[in-house]
Amino acid sequence: MIGTVLAALVLLVVIGPVPAARALEIRTLTSPQGIPFWLVQVSELPVVTVDFAFAGGTRIEAAAKAGAATLASGLLVEGAGDMDGPAFQDALAARAVEFSTGVDRDAFSGSFRSLATEAEEAAKLVGLALTAPRFDADDIERDRQQLLVSLARSAENPQAIASRSLLAGLFPTDSYGRDTDGARETVAALSREDLVAYVSRQFTRNRLTLGIVGDITPEAAGRVVDLAFARLPAGEARPKAEPVSPSFFGETVVDRPIPQTIITFALPGILRSDPDWFPAFVMNHILGGGTFTARLFREVREKRGLAYSVGTTLYPLDRVGLLYGYAATRNDRARETVQVIRDEIARFADEGPTEAELAGAKKYLTGSFPLSLDGSGAVAGLLVTMQIHHLPPGYLDDRSSLIEAVTADDVKRVAKRLLDTDKLSVVMVGQPADGAGPAAPAAARISEDGARSTSHSSIQ
């Protein structure tokens, strides 16, 4: 009996390509007050999710005001209009509204979700928070203390140190090099006026991108959009994306008395708008993408048992692209781990992918895409990301063929361009023992500092 099962198993190896995802029907609409938004209407579950992003984020903070965006973000649920913080939070809770906001290096983003029957009430509350945040003195002080504690904690956290040090090294004078939560001195000095100045510059219709998913008609969705966003000012035009060049710096060790060395590393990456985006995307998947079949995973973890996690990801910021990597391993093998990673990067640049790797990557990257749409929140995030990257609604239909069109030569070309070990920049946090060979890192999860954490960033 087992034999029968297994015989059938073997046949499955030659299965054909995964069929394209059932197309999502994206409607590009405009609210009665003239605000554009994308909508995917799904009626099976009576829930509505609205995702939004305002272009800017920590990029529009002055260096001396670093942390203003994060502090303002946290204070949005601490009261708005006539309601103080507890009253505002009770109003959200009574309707089971989920409302969250976050800040990254290129945007301020947020999301709210409610039962379909409560969508308009939810939108009113969010609209109030965006247009009339109270920023009461007591609340500012409490949240400031919380943020300072959080900064103190992340100053002790090896993974946070590793990703922060990497970005600070790459961008010593640019906002990209700063912690998105700001610094202790700047946070301590922020005033109410600084917060008001930040939100009035940040929350404008010209910077806004919107995606809605759920059991809601286009008309009702338009009302929701206007209730939440129509009272915002038009504001100045979006900031221009002036390119910035990373300062690749070699290797840095941050000494910490911990048994495991946390490793982060970076190489040149690629902008989302680059014509070589998809070859780079395929290349990253083969080298260090998030499956158990990637080369770094095989070489570092499966063959040598050096690390629990190891991998790379494309990190496309608005003004620069990076290839970001991570690993973590015991101190006495950290340098060996870095050397293995370095060797694999160099080998990829020399040899490119095998045909089997290329075919496997294409199958995975096309076939797994529908999995990223599990849940209306994921879809709403995708709608926002697509618009931020200027992708048309038809992108979802074209995506598979764009990936299928990538050739081995394409991947090899982009590997030569990006996988330059002379530029490999490595941070090791821990006490990597001295050993032969250049240092190399070992692993950690990508922290918020190292990669954008919202769903908006992960369009691929």
Binding site: P86, A96, E156, Q260, G311
Partner: protein, 502 residues
């Protein structure tokens, strides 16, 4: 197993999975709790949530001849499926001195069978556009694939194959043990908060295997080998010990047919009997059981206190749900009375809350807090005790209870938004002793719980006569009577006792 790609999941509301994710709904009409106050916005929302999620899942299930349970939740919004195999065995079932073996075996399950050698398993999944992983907890070990719905047959064949067909090479076990040791370093050894959580849990659950870390004690972990893994595998991995959960774009009858043709062909040699999973009882909490530790790398002090909750068969399953609701009402969010009083009104804490973590055996109710700058742990503890005494005496306000109920019901609707969270919710509930019928009818019960019932359950667990344990973690060199450092007090992550390891 898990590489860098641990599954991204919305953090469930603290509390028992059964109650937290699963739930929805309500038939609120005429419940005593509502009778106490005029209809509120929260009550109206709860009604809407209830209507929205009836029936809760509409799951279909079947038990195959070999004892394997199959549960299907159809969801046709996207052409994907989440397929999970839950083995009713976990870290709490490990032999003495072999802590970590359940999780180590979970890693080794990716090392191949006669038919799929080496990394073939994961390569097949990936080439078919799927994502796979696994995780281990105290009461269960689960393996899953999320994949295009028309590939369900592939993953069912692969899982059925490795249910009894694992072939382990000695060198795979040797290398993988190093990976797990690195995992422990990342997860625990590098993090003073986690190290403290591990020691605290051992104190709370003294005598019960829930007191061990799932990943294993360091000295035992390093001695595990292939033979331990194989012995554990042969003892516990059988069809009758497994629950297969499939959620997504499939028809239940098709799934049952596929299951019969794959899992159904495996003979059951063990005859899993839930009643035989007998673990030692935890020592009763008595006296001032307390762990105070200061450690390098700790930026700010924190305080926690736990009470043990008897097993559901003893405590009562309905009563346990009342406890879940009341604990969430008391301290489940920043709108709850514990947070409002200690953080907002008195300003003595920067974080305060409570949660209930249910399990197959004894559960745990935890209250936690972190002091504001200038406040000592001793002062904080006294303030928390006053707040708890008042809640135990007076209960919570009706609108507080209704907001909690609304949130729990709505969370159940939200959980259904994703096939993977749906499958998780079902599997975790069934693997810890719930029945499908109780899952489906959870909303009605949740809607009917009264404030009095909630308080009765709460007092039974944390009343003045009940034993408890207390934990304090401090920055290096600080004592419980020292004021918290100015920069040390805030966004403290609530302690977790869930103990799931990938």
């Amino acid at each position: 197993m898990s590489a860098s790609s641990s599954p991204v999941r919305r953090r469930p509301r603290p509390g028992r999975l059964v109650a937290s994710l699963l739930v929805t709904s309500a038939l609120l009409a005429g419940t005593p709790a509502l009778a106490e106050t005029p209809p509120s916005i929260a009550a109206a929302t709860a009604t809407a949530a209830a209507e929205a999620a009836t029936p809760l899942l509409g799951a279909k299930s079947r038990v195959l001849e070999n004892g394997l349970t199959v549960v299907v939740v159809e969801d046709h919004r996207m052409p994907v499926v989440s397929h999970m195999v839950w083995y009713r065995v976990g870290a709490a079932d490990e032999p003495a001195r072999r802590s970590g073996i359940a999780h180590f075996l979970e890693h080794l399950m990716f090392k191949g069978t006669e038919q799929t050698s080496g990394d073939e398993f994961s390569r097949l999944i990936a080439e078919n556009g799927g994502r796979d992983n696994a995780f281990t907890s105290y009461d269960y070990t689960a393996y899953y694939q999320n994949i295009a719905a028309d590939r369900l047959d592939l993953v069912m064949r692969l899982e059925a194959d490795r249910m009894t067909g694992l072939r382990l090479r000695p060198e795979d076990a040797t290398t993988e043990l190093q990976v797990v040791i690195e995992e422990r370093r990342s997860r625990t050894d590098n993090d003073p908060q986690t190290r403290f959580g591990e020691a605290y849990r051992a104190m709370v659950y003294a005598g019960h295997p829930y007191g061990r870390p799932v990943i294993g004690w360091p000295d035992e972990l390093k001695t595990l080998d292939r033979d331990d893994a194989v012995a554990f595998y042969k003892a516990h991995y059988h069809p009758s010990a497994a629950i297969v959960v499939v959620a997504g774009d499939v028809k239940a009858e098709d799934v049952f047919r596929l299951a019969a043709g794959t899992y159904g062909r495996i003979p059951d040699t063990a005859g899993f009997d839930e009643a035989k999973r007998v673990r030692p009882a935890p020592a009763p909490l008595a006296g001032d059981r307390r762990l105070v530790q200061d450690a390098a790398g700790v930026a700010s002090p924190s305080w926690r206190r736990s009470w043990l909750v008897p097993r559901a068969e003893v405590f009562g399953r309905d009563r346990e749900e009342a406890l879940d609701l009341m604990t969430f009402a008391m301290g489940g969010s920043s709108t709850s009375p514990l947070y409002r009083r200690l953080v907002v009104d008195e300003g003595i804490a920067v974080q305060a809350g409570a949660y209930y973590a249910g399990a197959r055996d004894e559960g745990q109710l935890m209250v936690y807090a972190a002091p504001a700058p200038g406040v000592s742990i001793t002062r904080l503890e006294a303030a928390v005790e006053r707040a708890l005494a008042d809640i135990l005496k007076q209960g919570v306000a009706p609108d507080v209870l209704e907001r909690a109920r609304t949130r729990m019901l709505a969370d159940a609707v939200y959980a259904r938004d994703s096939v993977s969270s749906t499958a998780n919710m079902v599997g975790a509930a069934l693997a810890t002793g719930e029945t499908l019928e109780r899952i489906e009818t959870w909303p009605q019960r949740m809607a009917a719980i009264t404030g009095d019932q909630g308080m009765e359950a709460l007092r039974a667990v944390m009343g003045p006569d009940q034993g408890m344990a207390t934990g304090v973690l401090l920055p290096e060199g600080l004592s419980v009577d020292d004021p918290a450092p100015a920069v040390a007090a805030t966004a403290v992550t609530p302690p977790s006792s869930e103990g799931t390891v990938h």
